[in-house]
Each structure stands twice: as C-alpha cells, then as structure tokens.
C-alpha cells in the first residue's frame, strides 16, 4: 500500500525530507496513522524522536486526525508541530 508522507516546519528541517512516497507492504488493509508512525520510526533515532514528540499533529488528506485514523492507498499523511500562523 503506497501513501504520500509530508513533513513541515521543524520536522521537515530535522529529518531533511519534505515529501516522499511510502509503502507498507507488510501491513494488512486496516493501517492506522499510529502504524505508519511506528514504521517510519524504524528509520532511525531522529525519526523515532521527531514522530513521538508530545504535540505532534497528524493531518490525513488535509484534515487533522487522531492516531487511530485509518490510512488508505493514495492518501496524503502529513506530520508537523502545532501551527503558528496569523
């Protein structure tokens, strides 16, 4: 199953990536945001730390969601710190 991952702000900066395709072949069809986070966390300590910061925001297809939201093929999943616009 392939999805697009986007990273913004300090996450983008720390992890050195802003957008990439990500496949979760080993997982069954009911993949949650939490499962994607776990899979990405295995990329290394900086990923582990960045994706487990307490205020991390998850947006699935441009909508803020909790980690139990279910991800489908072709979705866009973004991770970022709390927003500071305005």
């Amino acid at each position: 199953m392939g999805i697009t991952i986007k990273l913004f702000s300090s996450l983008r900066e720390v992890l050195g990536e802003s957008e990439f395709e990500f496949s979760l072949t080993e997982l069954d069809s009911a993949v949650t945001v939490a499962a994607v986070k776990s899979a990405l966390s295995q990329r290394g300590a900086s990923w582990q730390e960045a994706l487990n910061q307490p205020n991390l925001v998850h947006a699935l297809n441009h909508k803020v969601v909790y980690t139990d939201a279910v991800v489908a093929a072709g979705d866009e999943l973004a991770f970022f710190p709390p927003m500071t616009g305005g």
Binding site: F8, A59, H62, K63, F80, M83, T84, G85, G86
Partner: protein, 153 residues
C-alpha cells in the same frame, strides 16, 4: 467569499474596497497582523512563514464559511502571507461584513483566533542567534478554545 494565500504584501486598502463593494452592508470589521520587531525573548529582523498550501486553503475556506454561518455575514475575506517577511510587513488580513456590529466584530475575532491554531502555517524568526521556530502559545490555545463549544459536531 474567498481566501488568498499569497507571497505578495497585502494591499489593505484594495482588500477593503473589494470586500465592501459599492453598496456596503451596515457593519464592517477588519483585522490586520504585522511582523513585530521583537518576540517575547529577543529582537526579530525577519520572519519566515512556511505553509502547507492545499490544507491551508481548505482550512481557511472552512473557517470563513463557519464564521459566515455563525454570524450571518454577507461577505468575508481572509488573506494570509507566506515566504520571507520583513519587520512591519503585513502577515494576515481578515474582513467581515454583517448587518450589525457585534456580528462583524465577533466574526473577525473568531477567524483570527481559529486560524492562529488551525491553519497550517509555521513561523520562523530570524533573531540574533539565527533562526528560531516560533512555539505555539498557550494564550492562543485558550482563545481558540472559547469558540469550541459553539462548533457543530
């Protein structure tokens, strides 16, 4: 009504004129935010605004529509900058038009309080020690929460 997410400075006079049109409704409230030359802790020489374009567009449209619905606005507009901004440049402009002043003023306040915490923009300040990401403020979360009880499920 409409949203603009733009790199260019906001032309407040032009935005205002377009918002009210030739036959203005009775009450027009606006808010403009500018880049400060300081944060709580240090001097600021420039501000960089990163954003998530597609989501920002959707969030700001939904926010304007919610304000219009809740306060019976006849017209509204939200303009937000991104990119590298100098001190004293515009960051954000909102305008709300209604029959009565309370509705126009409250709608402008709702739009500002909600976009601060809900619209995917991130500020990075250029200060004496280099770039610093601006942290989310407790006061902004608190102001945002005031509107939550009135939201629809």
């Amino acid at each position: 009504m409409t949203v603009s997410i733009q790199r260019e400075p906001i032309d407040v006079a032009s935005e205002y004129a377009q918002l009210v049109g030739p036959q203005p409704d009775a009450a027009v409230a606006t808010f403009t935010g500018y880049v400060r030359d300081h944060s709580d802790a240090h001097a600021v020489s420039q501000l960089e605004l990163e954003h998530y374009p597609e989501m920002a567009q959707k969030v700001l449209m939904a926010l304007g529509e919610r304000a219009a619905d809740q306060f019976g606005l006849s017209r509204w507009r939200i303009v937000h900058r991104y990119g590298l901004l100098d001190v004293a440049e515009t960051i954000v402009w909102v305008g709300a038009v209604a029959e009565h002043r309370g509705e126009a003023i409250s709608a402008s306040e709702l739009m500002m309080d909600t976009l601060k915490t809900d619209a995917p923009f991130w500020k990075r300040e250029q200060g004496p020690d280099g770039h610093v990401w601006v942290a989310s403020k407790a006061v902004d979360q608190h102001r945002r929460a005031r509107w939550r009880s009135e939201e629809k499920a």
